[in-house]
Amino acid sequence: MSRLTIEKPWQRWLIRFGVFVAMAILTIPGLWVVVTAFRPNIEVLARPAVWIPQNPTLDNFARLFGLSSEQQGLPVAQYFINSLVISVTSTLVAVAIGMAGGYAFARFRFPGKGGLFLAFMLSRTVPGVALSLPLFIIWARIGLIDTSMGLILVYLAVNVPFTIWLTDGFFRQIPVDLSEAAQIDGCTRWQAFWKVEFPLARSGLASAAIFAFLTSWNEYALASQLTRTTASKTMPVGLMDFTAQFTVDWTGMSAMAVLIIIPALVLTFVVQKHLIAGLTFGGVK
């Protein structure tokens, strides 16, 4: 915004100070966990508090993967693989299915359109915790408890409505004339979609995919009830392995937290620009 209001110097410093404090509050808690992941347990428990890390160590990470001799490792590598397989599979399928749905909403007029769209969105409002109860009953009966397949299906349903919402917006932004021109030039509608509209929507689809991936990667409420063992436990559920009744392994948990956050961090940076666009234009314009 251009300077419509001329600020006095003290006002400018006040604004800078306010921004600085806000940014500190937003970043320090997370950074503190990252720092803890690289500290020995003894330092974290020390009294009086040790503020500057004295002996940075990778031991906590080694412990997670069973590489440390002093303590038995947790099956974190397996959790990581489970999380990856479940999130990637459900994301790919959700984007394929959601893209078809979003295209239908963006390009066709048909009876019941408004109602269907609302129905999809309302299905997304059902809290995961509430949905986990009946899913637990059904999955137990048909043998999907503690399988990757069971969780993939659930995340598919969680991600499809939001993917539809996003892709609907992305396809709407592409002028209809482009695919019509291609069809006049002899393409079928199917070809026109893949040759004209799909390439144009590709970056939008990528951000829809990243949204879906992050949702699955971070999900806890459903996963905690529908998984039991290393066969399907994901990272967020595995995090709870570190808490016993009265004790918490703070450094181990911090190390695991770092492992969970890294993929999310990288992907959020990648998708940053589309994230804002994707969130706003469903609503405005």
Binding site: M1, L4, I15, R16, G18, V19, M23, L26, T27, I28, P29, G30, W32, V33, T36, V44, L45, P48, A49, I97, G98, G101, F105, F108, R109, F110, A119, F120, L122, S123, T125, P127, V129, A130, L131, S132, L133, P134, F136, I137, A157, R189, N218, E219, Y220, A221, Q225, L239, W250, M253, S254, A257, I261, T268, F269, Q272, L279, T280, G283, V284
Partner: protein
Amino acid sequence: MRSPAATPYLLLLPAALVILSVVLLPLLVSFWTSFTNYNLTRPATLFNFIGLRNYQRLMGNSDFWWAFGRTIIFITIALNLEMLLGLGLALLVNKITWGQRTLRTIMMFPMMFSPILVGFQFKYLFNDSIGLVNNALFDLGLIKQPIAWLVDGNLANFSIIFAEIWMSTSIFAILLLAGLMALPKEPIEAARVDGCNPWQVFRHITLPFLMPFVYIAMTIRSLDVARAYDMVRIMTNGGPAGRTELIWTLMTRTGYQNSQMGMANAMGYVSIILSIVFTFYFYRKLVSARTFMGGAQ
């Protein structure tokens, strides 16, 4: 469009099948279960119809009403504070001309954290013996005894709301900042020429323009208010003595720990209706704000 009438339905078929089988079917099952005294340990009770007794018992259950009331208050306080703080942050960052892109990236930081991680992080920070908060207060000489942030009922509720606000203020700030950047300059200049003070400009031009963005953020947030479950689960799990119990934690305790699936599903329905009402309310506001702005499709 020259396509046969069935095309859109065919395109929507896979999505509809997924939602029908993984959301609607379970919802029907849980609807049925909420009218039975289904107990996980006795599978036969799934077909034991008991009418409205679960709902009647809920209505007379003070634990449930406490959790329900606390959930409503929790949502109301959290959403309002997130909105106000997000607006404040967006206005501040909007005033900064240098390094704004970096600031926006920093603001996204909490959005990368899964709720379970946010819960863990604040469980650690608010820990009474080794937490960052108490350590800082100690070393600054502000306290002599550790403050039991997560053990005292009121402080635990404060800590949870703090964590919730930390997690979600960014969504508001980022969306409102996008709104501020799209704000047309002409009406503001015209208003200033006509002698409006900054407050009047904000109240009558900036704020009405931002309202659709506020409602988008509110709609997105109300879609997943139940994320707070993950956070509370790891921070206090409803304790101490049920003082931070929300409807979601009470539901899982009833269903999985006490095996009373019928009762838990009745609670589940209350929580589903709650979420739908919140989302629908803001969605309607969003649609009307858009119409008011003249930007409706």
